[in-house]
Symmetry: C2
Subunit: 563 residues, 2 copies
């Protein structure tokens, strides 16, 4: 079984040759000093070494042994704690944090590349630090001075890990149904009581403390989502006492065995309010775009890990004669020479490379939205992130699972057994279609909240920007991208004139609308990749095997609007 | 967790109201006495009870405990042996066998319905008897009188279970590479030596003996597939001595834990030649159509099992408000009222119901091919089976996995944990895309061996028959089916005139050609279902959510032919 290997040069090619990310970042005063391509390449090289040498080898024991629960405590798989301690001490969690919070002030996109690789190397292990960024942003933006002083640097550096305690047994996608209670205490804190489920890293032995961010209801709260407030409850208080937060059990799951999914019981556990009463969901949504982009990159990374395994196997394994010239010295040809296998592998490359272009671009836009001196440019960048993030999260996690299953198929029966590690990727990747908002929620979010709510203005602006970028591109890939963007634009026009915003039809095709957006964005990404002379067969695979879906989905949305 | 329940009335509806299977079967002298719908309904009722009460409850322990290996022996999960002993003693394996071999002489389609249900209820357990039919057919057609006398009735009745030992570590899809040797012994038997892998039920405690059918090479055999002969080696000889066949280990798999997948070592194990030297693959292919139809029905059954779980959950689980009138007494609506969820569930019904129509029809054609007095009708039925079986195997096992994953999505995070049993179906179903010939092999088989090899004549004949069946059908479903069949016909014409039979392009789109065939057949099935007033939303779901793919795939094949 070959372990995943990150390729820093591939990431650098996308960042600098395809996206010219350094030019954009150099214009942001807060990042200009750290936007040098050579510096960024060095960081990527170091990150690649850490991921490949320290984290990747723990992936299989993470699956086979898994996190173990006993009597309220969770023991992580062998090697997990040491790797995590090395990780935070080397400063990786704080890579893109501001220096004043213990960070290194590097562009967000480097953090995103790092998380793509970590997820590809060891999805289970990566779940733990994956939540740090959202949690520290939340504390930074919404925590009062006392909370910030106590918790911000510890969480930002990763010395203490964090959780998001949102879901309850009866409240999943619909958090407004949550019932956990928070009762004021005389000392200004609150006593939290209730049960939270599906809490990733709710209990473990990776870090010396765990900081829980918890949605709960104050006694006078209105029903529904507007009655939710956000609280912080640590595993241990500053004086070393343990809080009344108990891990009741961990779930038996399809995969992701290296990450404990905990049922957490709060027994009048004392904690602090974060932000204003009734604004809990808003505080949570602050971290949503970055967290969803993380998940999109998990999809890209897991797909790349699956492709690496299948590509290597297809070059070694010989079965039957392929069409074309034969090697008479061997009884059969490598299966990569069979056109159906080559198509399958190339199709994953079409998704991986375009996914990187779009996700890295989105990570750059996150920095632009934060740091650009021009408010109009910040707003525009914010629109990009709001629109593109749900598309990436849904389409690339769908593809991670589907593509990993396709890659398993390359191994035949050998893929179904544990031996080569490919079936683990299928099992692990499945969860990314569910968490951080199911992919159906992403589609609803895109169509209703991000597109229809402003009558398509933000999306129109985004499409105009991409069309302008394609001006003068006389390549076939450029022409295809213009067609793709026009198809999406056509749906926008149809939506504006249909007046059917509340119809059931539209709810039923939100997923198809998201696919059209994904494929149109992908066509733009491939125009950019072709312009930069990207190596490999991805461009052809995109044209022949992926692109035809766009017309089909476009027709399905169109049909729903006239039905 | 709700266990799967077979619904005999649903099967009867397809058999009698949609397909009028009793009319066709009544015309076959060998089956006429047993083609009475009332008799068949009684058999289905009894089968449903056995499956639901005896086999279904063992599914979860089968996954969680699984088959256990120790020191050459395999212990099956609790309850498996008792259920199997009850199964064969009640005569279920021999349902469709001729009375002279201990069978009941009932139509093959009843056996197929039984196996659909068994697979849905407990895929792992069903693997064991699933191989009996091919093995007994093989012994019946190719075994000499002595072998038949010793083994046929034992295998036909299921008192002894059987295996097919084909795959070797370096020889999977390409069996011609197999190296296991067979050396003649003085007593007329042969000593077999070699290692076979992926042997389902190679060792277990379900039955008192196990009969292995093994592909191996005689000393003077030519290289490649024409050098393979078939042999029979039992676990125990008649005198009670154990043969030199050793189970070395069982595989750790993604799913199907209730079925031991064995590595079998043959150490000069004595056995008998079955059929002629060098004709081993032919003897194996005898059982291929029936075995592949079994696997297609596993797909249908597993998809139905997944749908049953998701449908029940979606009626109970309330999250968020759905479009349309609201029930103010509840804080949220059942998720089945969300259009995206309803679409997802209805789409599975579109596949399940059409899959049953096509698979049950194919099972009837198997009997026609065997028993019709008219040689022209027998030949026509043989063409149906040869053409439709690979389509059903590939398209419905793909859908079983994809659809089970879709059904998992209905549960959100609750689907990813073991609790509801849906993730087991995703894991179990994945293997059906691989075994009995991978789905890529099915596509190659269809396009190159079944269609291009006779220049499309058999497929043209099949399409003419279906078109004739639609004559006078003025419904929208009938019109759609005519369009579907015409699209497939158009590809046939294009293939005939392209002269590109050997091109790489064609190899790359064999899977798309199979999808066009699947969707065209499905459109015919839905025309028949609509004609019989099938209940539910399947017809609409087929039209809106499944049918659009046909044009896309048609375009992809067309494009490859002109490229």
């Amino acid at each position: 079984m070959n372990a995943y290997r990150p390729h820093a040069a591939d990431a650098a090619f996308i960042l600098f040759d395809v996206l010219q990310a350094h030019d954009t970042l150099a214009q942001l005063p807060a990042l200009a000093d750290n936007a040098d391509p050579n510096l960024m390449r060095q960081v990527l090289d170091e990150a690649g070494k850490f991921v490949g040498q320290v984290v990747a080898p723990l992936n299989r024991p993470g699956d086979e042994i898994g996190a173990q629960y006993e009597n309220g405590a969770v023991t992580m798989p062998p090697g997990f704690r040491d790797a995590y301690q090395a990780f935070w001490r080397a400063g990786w969690p704080a890579l893109s944090h501001a220096p004043e919070h213990g960070g290194q002030g590097l562009p967000t996109v480097l953090e995103m590349v790092l998380y793509e690789w970590l997820s590809a190397a060891n999805h289970g292990w990566t779940m733990a630090p994956g939540l740090l960024h959202g949690a520290s942003e939340c504390i930074r933006q919404h925590g009062g001075p006392e909370l910030r002083a106590r918790y911000l640097e510890k969480v930002a550096t990763g010395e203490w890990l964090a959780t998001m305690c949102l879901t309850e047994p009866h409240a999943g996608s619909d958090l407004g149904l949550a019932r956990t209670k928070a009762v004021p205490l005389p000392d200004g804190r609150y006593a939290l009581s209730g049960t939270k489920i599906f809490i990733s890293g709710g209990e473990h032995d990776l870090s010396d403390n765990i900081v829980h961010l918890v949605l709960a209801r104050l006694p006078d709260a209105v029903p529904g989502p507007k009655g939710l407030s956000l609280f912080l409850v640590p595993k241990f208080y500053d004086d070393g006492r343990r809080s009344a937060v108990v891990c009741e059990r961990i779930e038996e799951k399809m995969g992701l065995h290296g990450s404990p999914t905990c049922v957490m019981r709060f027994d009048e556990a004392a904690g602090w309010l974060v932000g204003e009463p009734g604004k809990g969901l808003n505080a949570m949504f602050v971290m949503m775009n970055a967290a969803r982009l993380h998940v999109a990159l998990q999809g890209v990374g897991l797909l790349d890990a699956a492709w690496q395994k299948a590509d290597a196997y297809a070059r070694e394994r010989r079965q039957m004669r392929a069409p074309g010239p034969r090697d008479a010295s061997q009884p059969a040809d490598p299966i990569i020479r069979h056109p159906a296998v080559q198509r399958l592998l190339d199709t994953q490359r079409a998704w991986i490379d375009a996914g990187r272009v779009l996700a890295y671009r989105t990570a750059v836009e996150l920095d632009v939205a934060r740091h650009d001196p021009d408010p109009a440019r910040r707003r525009q960048a914010g629109h990009w992130c709001a629109l593109v993030t749900p598309v990436l999260k849904a389409a690339w996690t769908d593809q991670a699972f589907q593509g990993a299953s396709d890659c398993l198929q390359v191994f035949g029966g050998h893929g179904y057994v544990r031996e080569w590690g490919i079936e683990q990727i299928v099992r692990d990747s499945r969860v990314a279609m569910i968490y951080e908002g199911t992919n159906e929620i992403q589609a609803q979010d895109l169509l209703f909240r991000k597109v229809l709510a402003d009558e398509g203005r933000a999306l129109s602006g985004l499409l105009e920007g991409l069309e302008a970028d394609l001006e003068g591109d006389a390549s076939a890939a450029g022409a295809r991208a213009r067609t793709g963007l026009a198809k999406l634009s056509d749906l926008l026009d149809a939506l504006r004139t249909s007046g059917a915003t509340a119809s059931e039809n539209l709810h039923a095709v939100a997923g198809d609308f998201l696919r059209v957006a994904a494929l149109a964005l992908m066509s733009w990404a491939w125009a950019r990749l072709v312009r930069a002379d990207a190596p490999g067969n991805g461009a052809t695979a995109f044209e022949r095997w992926v692109w035809p879906e766009l017309s089909m989905r476009h027709g399905m949305v169109r049909q729903a609007l006239i039905a």
